[in-house]
Symmetry: C2
Subunit: 457 residues, 2 copies
């Protein structure tokens, strides 16, 4: 019988290991190294060539020399994967402190065709129109700046998991194919379920509330499907939802407190662990701000702030709408940034009429609800609030809204058999990424966006 | 302007905090406490009652006394959520070392109806037939033993993320709505996508390979949809896939080594952090075994082992089939458990004909492929292998299989423009949970299973 050798090996052919060992003085000028990577850019001169290689987000320079290298640079093309055997050359002008002199280079991929887009040129990739960028997604993702966006998304996912676990939350898995929708049915994709109709869930709302009855603090990360027809720079039809729900709350402010600490945690973690990726967007040494001030303002007060600053019809019109227009969100964001030096603000007490049927109303004034949105840099990134936990209250509200109680039997089961005061919130991964990095379109914030016309790649 | 108070508060009304403080001597007999929880069981006697309360998986005993408690126990029912004000009573017979004497008790949920299943009785819940268990899922999930299953799933998700991050993997988000399937189209759920046909992806295979070209080491966690009609105790139509893919591998054994260490990590983590949950299934003090021995055996050799142990038609028949029947998997698992005292075995070199079109064949004998399954306790829990990275080789194999190359244009783009040798694996969360806990049916291993007839809750 053969047994597997499962001890972890040192990855000495990983450029990051070489960089670390060089920095620690374990590798020095003239030492032999073997490195794996992808040919990023080749600049041929007479008798020698600068060969940029990329690996794990690092682009490093190798030198090919006709006289000294046992390979012909003309046999290689960009995007081919190679193993390079060579020597460290200390080089002060290199940001790594060294180049690598190529002695041998072996292709481990197949031969690569010439890419239709210049992957190594971030400026050109930046200037592609959105459809070209996305049509060529398999290749444009390889650009270091585009890759950095995907890494930031990874960082936010990581931070969300890690922070909630430290807070005592348990992850659960809700189904995505359901017999009816969380919010009552509009804008859902229909699925042929063995000849019956099913739908892709718009929200794990029902499931996360059920799990509060089981776990008290529950969260889930997964795709959310919205068959919305409109096309804006901040909507996609499938997004990664970050959803949490918490039982035994004292007030919906408990949720805002949790979220404030979560964003502090996320920003700090990104600054510490994703500095190289942030630099592409925030400039050399660029950092996300330290979050220390979390203003909170009631919906109607925010409306009034806006109206006071916009005398005449613009302000009057704003006061009549039960929700914010994008310009109003932007203005509110700018106001708080200017007046309180903070990119974040909580808007609370949204009109009950604009919130879902499960939202708890403010008993002091049921026109408004125990709900909130969090704005980040003038863009709404979270919606949350306290839910109704009492069976009779929930039934009464659904009846008032003309809803079919029978459709919600499973949902109402939890209320019928005891639920603590609870609430939660939902965040969209792509919208946070877009917001933090200042991307023009949310479709740039995810690897493979879906819109009305795009199912590829 | 108001600002949010966002300092984390001590959760002194969390039973786990009380337990810890009691163990550390910070709380002692006679001290006042306030605790939140759900009424789990009420046993009324003459003039007093034992009131079991549960919170975060802990069931603890409170004592109601007609003379001393300022509330009437008859006003309360099980499943109601309460806040209890009371005093610690040191009690050696309690596993926590104390009971809580109820002074005040306030209901914070609505009134609860009498549940149709006895949530606090694990033996009765265990004996429910599967449909009753699942029809009443909103309530049966609240049973501590059922809850423990969900917690173990959480633990495996957590371990998968944590282990892969330590190994340098980056998480990415693939789309679930696609224009065609990863494996070529059978068994897919169809979606009405704004009047066009789309499908729910059967596997993130294409996307994880694309992301190897971007991230080198990539993983994703998310729902996988399979419109398979058969109903067995180990199939569901929507499961949580744990998928990873790794570039610049030397051989597909690199993947097996990674997986061996991953399961060592998972088992150790579950033993350390989920001991209370494991006890429900492995008995008092029960542990998952330490994994130290990882036998590997070629597919044909495993077949021969089975055939030699089953002379006659059973063995002869087995040799003719290019895959394992469930009885064979079980027997192989038992064999290795008996002979090598290990619950795990890697079976390698599966017949090429039984593996997908992207599987790398063994050049020494193309009848077999560079692929593997991992068996755990006689059940397949992983499928993995090396993928074809060369464009010409992939095209040739697809043509040989009569596939429509045009349908796979995006897929083939990555091969055309350079891919390192790579491979990966896919695991199903629910199957691992089922396997580790020895559950009869996979539908018990997830909160809200989907089968041909079940879309609720």
């Amino acid at each position: 019988m053969e047994f597997l050798e499962y001890q972890k090996k040192d990855n000495q052919d990983d450029i990051r290991v070489v960089i670390e060992r060089f920095a620690q003085g374990q590798l020095k000028d003239g030492d032999a190294v073997s490195i794996k990577g992808t040919l990023h850019r080749i600049k041929e001169m007479s008798g020698f060539a600068f060969v940029n290689v990329r690996s794990f987000g690092v682009v490093f320079q190798c030198i090919w020399d006709e006289a000294a290298s046992k390979c012909n640079i003309k046999d290689f093309s960009v995007e081919e994967c190679v193993v390079i055997g060579g020597k460290i050359i200390a080089e002060e002008r290199s940001s790594l402190g060294f180049d690598i002199k190529i002695e041998e280079m072996t292709r481990v991929s197949g031969k690569a065709a010439v890419p239709p887009v210049e992957i190594s040129n971030s400026r050109k990739i930046d200037n592609l129109n959105l459809n070209t960028l996305l049509d060529n997604r398999v290749l444009t993702l390889r650009n270091p700046k585009v890759r950095a966006i995907m890494r930031i998304a990874d960082g936010i996912l990581h931070g969300f998991h890690e922070f909630l676990r430290k807070e005592g939350f348990t992850e659960f898995v809700p189904p995505k194919m359901v017999h009816s929708g969380a919010e009552g049915g509009a804008d859902m994709f229909e699925v042929d379920y063995f000849g019956k109709k099913a739908y892709l869930n718009q929200s794990p709302q029902m499931y996360k509330q059920i799990m509060v009855g089981v776990l008290t603090k529950a969260y889930t990360v997964g795709p959310v499907f919205r068959a919305e027809k409109y096309s804006t720079n901040r909507h996609i039809n499938e997004f990664q939802g970050l959803d949490l729900e918490m039982g035994f709350i004292n007030s919906f402010e408990d949720l805002m407190e949790l979220e404030a600490r979560m964003f502090q945690y996320l920003y700090k973690m990104l600054n510490e662990e994703y500095a190289a990726e942030l630099e592409f967007f925030l400039g050399k040494g660029g950092n996300l701000p330290e979050l220390t001030t979390f203003p909170k303002i009631k919906f109607m007060e925010a409306k009034k702030l806006f109206a006071d600053a916009h005398p005449g019809t613009v302000g009057q019109q704003a006061m009549l709408e039960p929700d914010f227009a994008p310009e109003e969100e932007k203005w509110i964001g700018e106001y708080f940034n200017r007046e309180y030096q903070t990119p974040v603000v909580f808007v609370t007490h949204y009109p009950t009429v604009k919130r879902p049927f499960y939202t708890m109303e403010d008993p002091a004034d049921p026109t408004y609800s125990f709900s909130f949105d969090m704005f980040l840099n003038g863009l709404e990134v979270t919606t949350g609030g306290q839910r109704i936990h009492d069976y009779e209250m929930q039934i009464a509200k659904m009846k008032k809204r003309g809803m079919d109680i029978g459709e919600f039997e499973d949902y109402l089961t939890m209320h019928k058999y005891g639920m603590p005061p609870h609430g939660g919130m939902g965040l969209g991964l792509e919208r946070i990424v877009q917001n933090i990095l200042g991307l023009d379109n949310i479709k740039m914030a995810t690897a493979f966006p879906r819109d009305r016309d795009r199912l590829n790649p």
